[in-house]
């Protein structure tokens, strides 16, 4: 697969010799900003009857705008995150609409041609037939996508199915959401959408870093692009801050873990049980715990004692490695940004939301566990069981935030109408219901409270963790 073979709508396609007219940079960037701010994504497919030279001009214009915006964004971490999120959304929009062959080209570009096979390639290599297995395995999930007529479903089933090496789709493998054979995760391409989007965003992040280094090496260009960055920042203003305002933090609440929203409860359990979370989910949980009033020292100690990869390290050694990342969340090092906990929309899309990412059985177990954690072994009424069924049904219909809100209703016995917007909103309301909200929120925000003092341990080095 050469870059030349990639479709023009692919945002990371390299087109040689594209000029970057600095005099037009602000105009180009403004058009792009208008689109992103209004979430008006365009496919950039060649329209029917559109001459190729006109189409190519459109492509080049977009590339110019994106290049300026990318380089400018690379100079500011908040801008960078905002841009990656928006480019990721636009990429996802285009990818889902693109013809299957072009989707395959892009996936092969992202993962390496040797790591992606069509069904026929897989069957040839391993001398097996997949059709029957695929129909057995995926038929109920894909009825909505491939039509209800059995014959058309069967014909379509393998046409839009891919085999990707399992190590590139770890989340899908871990959750057993894909058929795994001979080291390949085999599934309809729709199941890979989220993973592919994340991979695209990773590649974009790498590109931004390279562009930043190149820009910094060219003094005059750097001065110019700084000016573009400042212009973008002034246009975006508050839009680039994620999560709710910091005054949503609930000091001292990090001890009340059964009252956590299910996303944080699930992640907290995973750390306690397995000692491991992928990086993005550590950030999700870390920011939540910060919002729940956990100060940086307590959080450092939490990760040191619970994460499996700290074995063999003294606490001092840990502080220099992973400890840096945790202090970064609090704005104490690096960019100095005081990050806020992620909102539900971000978590559902890119993080871990059990209502979105767990299968029905394991979701049910999780919710039951959490309820037992709150109220003990008190039996469920019929009404409560029905509520739980409704919650699971909402989750299966991809209404994760609504399901979460209903779960809050279940545990607080108070009707919640709107879909959940933020994990700290959930926490605040569950604490209030449990009668703990006022007690905790009466304390100061800066860790000067008895709960925090109890859990604060002095930072000492020397002793290595070897459990």
């Amino acid at each position: 697969m050469t870059n030349q073979q990639l479709p023009y709508w692919y945002p990371l396609k390299v087109i040689e010799g594209v000029p970057l007219p600095q005099e037009n940079a602000i105009n180009l960037v403004n058009e792009l900003l208008d689109r992103y701010l209004n979430k008006r994504f365009i496919s950039l497919f060649q329209e029917y009857g559109e001459p190729h030279n006109i189409y190519k001009n459109r492509v080049i214009k977009e590339l110019q705008a994106k290049t300026f915006l990318r380089i400018a964004s690379s100079l500011d971490p908040r801008l960078q995150n905002w841009l990656i999120e928006n480019e990721g959304d636009e990429f996802s929009f285009r990818f889902k609409l693109a013809p299957f062959q072009e989707q395959v080209q892009v996936i092969q570009e992202l993962y390496g041609e040797e790591n992606v096979l069509s069904v026929s390639q897989f069957e040839l290599r391993y001398k097996t037939s997949l059709n029957e297995t695929l129909i057995k395995v995926y038929s109920p999930v894909d009825l909505a996508n491939y039509g209800t007529r059995k014959r058309s479903r069967q014909r379509n089933m393998t046409r839009k199915t891919l085999a990707i090496r399992f190590q590139f789709v770890p989340e899908l493998v871990k959750e057993r959401k894909v058929l795994l054979m001979k080291g390949y995760a085999i599934a309809p391409i729709t199941l890979f959408y989220g993973t592919i989007k994340k991979k695209f965003e990773q590649e974009l992040r790498v590109l931004l870093q390279k562009q930043k280094e190149r820009a910094e090496a060219r003094k005059h260009f750097y001065e110019f692009i700084t000016h573009v960055r400042d212009h973008v920042l002034s246009r975006l203003g508050e839009s680039i801050h994620h999560g709710g305002p910091f005054e949503m933090s609930v000091p001292g609440a990090f001890n009340e873990y059964p009252l956590f929203p299910p996303c944080a409860f699930d992640l907290y359990n995973m750390v306690k049980e397995t000692g491991y979370l992928p990086h993005a989910l550590r950030v999700q949980l870390g920011l939540f715990l910060k919002g729940a009033g956990m100060d940086v020292e307590t959080q450092l100690r939490f990760w040191y004692e619970n994460a499996v990869d700290n074995k063999g390290f003294t606490f001092e050694q840990f502080l220099q490695k992973a400890g840096y990342q945790i202090r970064h969340l609090y704005g104490l090092v690096g960019s100095g940004i005081d990050y806020t906990p992620q909102k539900c929309e971000t978590i559902v899309d890119q993080g871990h939301c059990p209502f979105r990412h767990r299968d029905p059985e394991s979701l049910k177990e999780l919710l039951l566990d959490q309820i037992r954690g709150i109220r003990g072994e008190k039996p469920f009424s019929e009404f409560e069981l029905k509520q739980l069924e409704n919650i699971l049904s909402l989750a299966m219909k991809d209404q994760a935030r609504k399901a979460c809100s209903q779960f809050l209703s279940l545990i607080t016995e108070h009707r919640e109408g709107k879909p959940m917007v933020h994990p700290l909103v959930f926490l605040r309301k569950s604490l209030e219901h449990a009668g703990k909200g006022e007690k905790l929120m009466g304390k100061s925000r800066n860790g000067e409270n008895k709960e925090n003092e109890k859990t604060k341990k002095p930072i000492t080095g020397g002793k290595t963790r070897n459990d």
Binding site: F166, P170, V178, T274, Y276, V308
Partner: protein
């Protein structure tokens, strides 16, 4: 007979009969005169030997790690100094670890993916009476079943054929994946493998069993054909008691199976006592027979693991590569007293 009567077979734990001083003497002689590095080199590669972290548990200086050696000869020379209760390998680092280059000064490069199966993980479900350090031929079957199931899953689901099973010298086995691509796996990738394999959560506590989604049909069929098929032909009373069956119900059920033998899973499920759901029965079967892998060992990219060809200081047994993993029996263990003349 459907239910196996637990038979406690007395497999002598020779280190219990031996004084600590005598064992330490044997260990010292072993590493001075009998140690052979070739088994170790079947699981860790020679090319990156000088960048490998080693760890040691010694009588004289306790536990040490973050050590590296330029060549195998240097390691052998080091093994002459102390009385070693354990010799372990960790990850590969660049630059190699030393007294001046610590973990935070270097970059991790790779570490073999290893699966660890210890018999004490099965304590909640061992019906032979063994607990903790104890092991007998009856409960060792659980390890053998794990070897069979995991080997098939690695080959069929993960497309992985390059692995070796090692008896640790203690209470279980390690499966070392020798594929260099796998050695570079991140924690996320290792977690994916363990997440896929792990069906029992909180193994020492609640022991919650995952449902197996229909999408993983080959995996599910393997669970039925290997794990559950074994269970139904030796159903322990303890397992049926977990389903809240009365003594009479259990006796009647087992008798029915005995009279029908041979039988299949369908027969068992369609003759379950009233009130018992098929899924509950299958969950119990998985709890009692499914492989219990220590996920932390697999996920931890810097884990120190005992090397084959070394002696387990707690038992005195040699950690050996299993040429016939499914045929390995406890009486094939080699004690250091048999090696050192």
């Amino acid at each position: 007979m459907t239910e196996k009567t637990p038979i406690k077979i007395d497999v002598p734990h020779r280190t219990d009969e031996m004084s600590k001083e005598e064992l330490n003497r044997l260990l010292k002689v072993f590493y001075r005169e009998y140690f052979d590095a070739s088994p170790m080199l079947q699981v860790i590669d020679k090319e990156t030997f000088s960048h490998r972290e080693f760890g040691f548990n010694t009588v004289e200086r306790g536990f040490m790690r973050n050590k590296s050696f330029k060549a195998i000869g240097d390691l052998k020379e080091f093994l002459r100094f102390y009385t070693f209760l354990g010799v372990y390998s960790g990850g590969v680092f660049d630059p190699p670890l030393s007294s001046t280059i610590r973990l935070q000064d270097t970059t991790w490069k790779k570490r073999e993916v290893v699966f660890d199966f210890d018999i004490n993980e099965y304590d909640p479900v061992r019906t032979c009476g063994c607990q903790g350090r104890q092991v007998c031929p009856v409960c060792w079957e659980l390890i053998t079943d794990a070897i069979g199931f995991i080997s098939d899953t690695l080959r069929e689901d993960f497309g992985q054929n390059d692995f070796i099973w090692v008896f640790t010298g203690g209470r279980g086995v390690h499966c070392w994946i020798r594929d260099p691509d796998w050695a570079a796996f991140t924690q996320s990738q290792r977690n994916a493998i363990i997440g896929y394999l792990g069906l029992i959560h909180d193994p020492q506590g609640q022991q919650r069993v995952d449902p197996i989604p229909r999408v993983t049909i080959p995996f599910r069929e393997r669970v039925y054909n290997q794990i559950i098929a074994k269970f139904i032909h030796a159903i322990p009373r303890q397992a049926l008691e977990e389903l809240n069956l009365s003594k009479n119900q259990i006796t009647r059920f087992l008798k029915k199976l005995e009279q029908r033998a041979p039988y299949d899973l369908q027969f068992v499920v369609s003759n379950l006592p009233q009130g018992i759901e098929a899924n509950d029965f299958l969950s119990v079967a998985i709890k009692y027979r499914y492989p219990r892998v220590d996920h932390k060992v697999t996920i931890d990219t810097r884990r120190l693991l005992r090397l084959p060809g070394t002696i387990h200081g707690g038992t005195g047994y040699l950690s050996t590569i299993l040429k016939d993993p499914l045929g390995f029996r406890l009486d094939q263990r080699i004690h250091v007293s048999e090696i050192v003349k």
